[in-house]
Symmetry: C2
Subunit: 349 residues, 2 copies
C-alpha cells in the first residue's frame, strides 16, 4: 500500500499489462505500490500445451507466494485482493496462438482462467492482422467466428498489436466492448503500435477500454519521456474519447533478459532477425522512463495526473476504477450477464 | 498396368492429388490402372503431431502392402515404381497447419517425406489467403519467409485452394516454380476454387505446373460432366499456357464417408456448418463423373485426350511426363540442385 494514499481513501489500482521475469521481488513491489490487480501475459507465441505449462508455472508461484498474489478470475477478485492485502493476477495472451486453429479451445482457456486474448500479435494471424503487416484485410472468416465465441464465454478481445481496419472491424463485430490494453495515441507518438484517432473514438463510443503504455517505444522521446508529457497526453485523450474509457496498461517488462524480446519479436515465424519496435542499434529492451521503473512508481503517475489537472475522482478512474467496471461486465459468460445471479461479482468492493 | 498401353509404349502415369479412404482395394486399383505415382494428402487441418501420426499410419500401410505401394521421396522413385511394378506415394499437405507457427518445421516435414504444401486451404492462414475469404492481402510476413525456406529445402508451394493475389505473389516470390496440383480453369467452370486466366498464364510463364481436377464441384455440369467437355477444356488450357505445364490432379476422394468432407470444410475453425463447395441441398461428397470413378479409369482420360486431338507424346506429357520433369527439379534441396551429384535422381527412367 502506498502510504500517501491509504486504502480507504482511494479506489483500486489496476495495471492491464505486465510481463515481468516474475519473482518474489516483483510481487513485493506490487504490494509496496498498492497494486490490486495486474493483467499478465502468459503467452506470446505459445501453443495450447505450452500455455498450459505456463499456467502450471503460475500455479507454483500462487502456491509459493500465496501471501502476496493469487489467481484473479472475476471482477470480485479485485475486492478480494484489497480485503486480503494481495495482488490479483489475471491471465491474458498477446496472440491467439494458445487456441491454435481450434475454436473449441476458446472456452477451454477461459475455464483455465484466461480473460484477455489479442486477436493478433504483430503479424497476420488466423483471425486478424497485426500492425506490422503491409496489408490489413480485417477480420477473417475464422476471426468472426472466434470473436463471437469469445463474447459468449467472456474472453476479452484485445487489439493492442493489431492494425487499424482489423481493430475497427473487431469493435464493430464484437457484441461486447473490447479492449486495447496497452498502447498510446499516435497523435502523441506516431509508432506503428500506437492508435489512430479513428480507432480511439470507435473504441470509446463502443464502451471499450484503452490502457496507456509506459513501454519506451510507445512513448514520445522514448526512455527520456517526461511524466508531464505523458500526463498531458492522457488529458488530450480524455478530451478525445472521454475519461471513462481510460486506464493503465504499463507493458512493464521488468528484469527480463534481451533474449525475451527476441522471442516476442521473432517467435518461430522467421529464421532472420526482426527488430520489431527496436533497431539494429537498439535491439534489446529499452530503459524504462525514470518515473516508472517498477510497480512502486504508480504513485508517481497518480501525482502526475493530479498535476496535469485531473480531479481526485478522475485520477481514481484512470488508476483502476474504469478497468474494474470493465472487468465487471466482461469476464463472465454472456448468458450469466443477462441473468440475476448470486455470482461472486455481486460482492461489494 | 493397363493392357491397352504396355509399359514400354508409354510414359509414367502420375496423379498429383488423391485423398482416398486407403485400402488394399484402392492400391490394387492403382496397379490395375497403371498409376506409377500419386501425390496423396496426409493433412487437411492436422497439427504437426497429428500429421506425424498420419505418417505412422502410412508407414503401416507401406509395411503391409509393400508389394503394391511404397513411400516416394524423389523423382527417381517414379522409375523405381515402374521397375518394380508398384505405385510411389508422395506426401503433401492441403494446409500449412502441420508446420503450425514454426518455420523450423518446414525442413522437418521435408525430412519426413512431405513434398507439397498448400500455403492455405480455403481460409486465411498464417502465410496467405484462401479462396473463400472476402479479402486477399497476399503473402504475409511469415508467408514470404516460409516460401523462401520451402524453396531451400525442396518443399513445393501448392496454391490449389488459395485466392488470386496470394497465388500471383507466391509465383513471383518463389525462387522455384510452384504448383496448383488440383483445380480447373474458371473460364470453363467459374467456381471459387478454379483459376483465372491471369493465374494460369503466370503459372505457366514461371515454369509451374497445373493439375486438372476431376472433383465434380470443379467440373462444368459437375457429376454430369462429359469426358469430351473435360478434354476440350484441357486443349483450351494448353492453347492458353502451353502443354508443358499441364498434368492431372484428380482430387479423387474414394470410399470416404461424408464425415470426411465435413472435416475438410469445417476443421476446427467454426462451431457452425460450412458447406464449402457444396450446399445445404448437397452437403456430402458428390458422385464422380462416370468416366472417372477410380484409379482404373485413367485409360479413359488417355483415350479422351487422344479423341480431343492430342498427339501420343502430348498425351504422355499430360498423363505424367510433365509432372515427372517437375518432380526432378522440385524435391531436392536447392543447394543439391546446383551441384553435380550422384543422387538417386540421376537414375535412368
Amino acid at each position: 500500500m502506498n502510504p500517501a494514499f491509504p486504502l480507504a481513501a482511494r479506489g483500486p489500482r489496476i495495471d492491464a499489462m505486465q510481463y515481468g521475469n516474475w519473482s518474489e521481488k516483483i510481487f513485493r513491489q506490487m504490494r509496496a505500490g498498492g497494486v490490486d490487480a495486474v493483467h499478465v501475459t502468459i503467452a506470446y507465441h505459445e501453443t495450447f500445451r505450452e500455455t498450459v505449462a505456463n499456467i502450471e508455472a503460475w500455479n507454483l508461484l500462487f502456491q509459493r507466494f500465496g501471501d502476496l498474489i493469487f489467481h484473479g478470475k472475476w471482477a470480485s477478485d479485485v475486492a478480494l485482493a484489497r480485503q486480503t492485502g494481495r495482488t490479483a493476477i489475471f491471465f491474458g495472451f498477446q496472440n491467439p496462438s494458445p487456441i491454435e486453429d481450434d475454436i473449441g479451445l476458446v472456452e477451454i482457456v477461459h475455464t483455465l482462467g484466461a480473460r484477455f486474448m489479442q486477436l493478433t500479435y504483430n503479424n497476420q494471424s488466423l483471425l486478424a492482422t497485426g500492425c506490422y503487416e503491409k496489408e490489413d484485410p480485417g477480420l477473417t472468416r475464422m476471426g468472426k467466428q472466434v470473436v463471437r465465441e469469445m463474447n459468449r464465454v467472456g474472453l476479452v478481445v484485445d487489439m493492442s498489436h493489431s492494425s487499424d481496419r482489423s481493430t475497427l472491424e473487431a469493435i464493430e463485430h464484437s457484441e461486447r466492448p473490447i479492449a486495447i490494453t496497452h498502447a498510446n495515441p499516435s497523435f502523441w507518438h506516431p509508432a506503428l503500435r500506437n492508435k489512430s484517432d479513428e480507432v480511439l473514438k470507435a473504441l470509446g463510443q463502443s464502451g471499450g477500454m484503452f490502457g496507456f503504455s509506459m513501454y519506451p517505444h510507445h512513448l514520445k522521446d522514448k526512455s527520456a519521456c517526461t511524466l508531464q508529457s505523458f500526463c498531458d497526453m492522457v488529458a488530450r485523450t480524455a478530451d478525445l474519447i472521454g475519461i471513462d474509457h481510460l486506464g493503465l496498461g504499463s507493458d512493464l517488462c521488468q528484469d527480463q533478459p534481451d533474449s525475451v524480446v527476441d522471442w516476442m519479436r521473432v517467435g518461430r515465424w522467421t529464421r532472420e532477425i526482426d527488430y520489431g519496435e527496436g533497431s539494429k542499434a537498439q535491439p534489446g529492451f529499452p530503459d524504462p522512463p525514470q518515473w516508472f521503473r517498477d510497480n512502486r512508481d504508480f504513485a508517481n503517475v497518480e501525482s502526475g495526473l493530479r498535476a496535469a489537472g485531473f480531479g481526485i475522482a478522475e485520477v481514481a478512474a484512470v488508476m483502476g476504477g474504469n478497468w474494474l467496471r470493465f472487468f465487471q461486465t466482461s469476464f463472465e459468460p454472456a448468458k450469466a450477464c443477462e441473468q440475476a445471479t448470486d455470482h461472486p461479482t455481486s460482492l461489494a468492493l
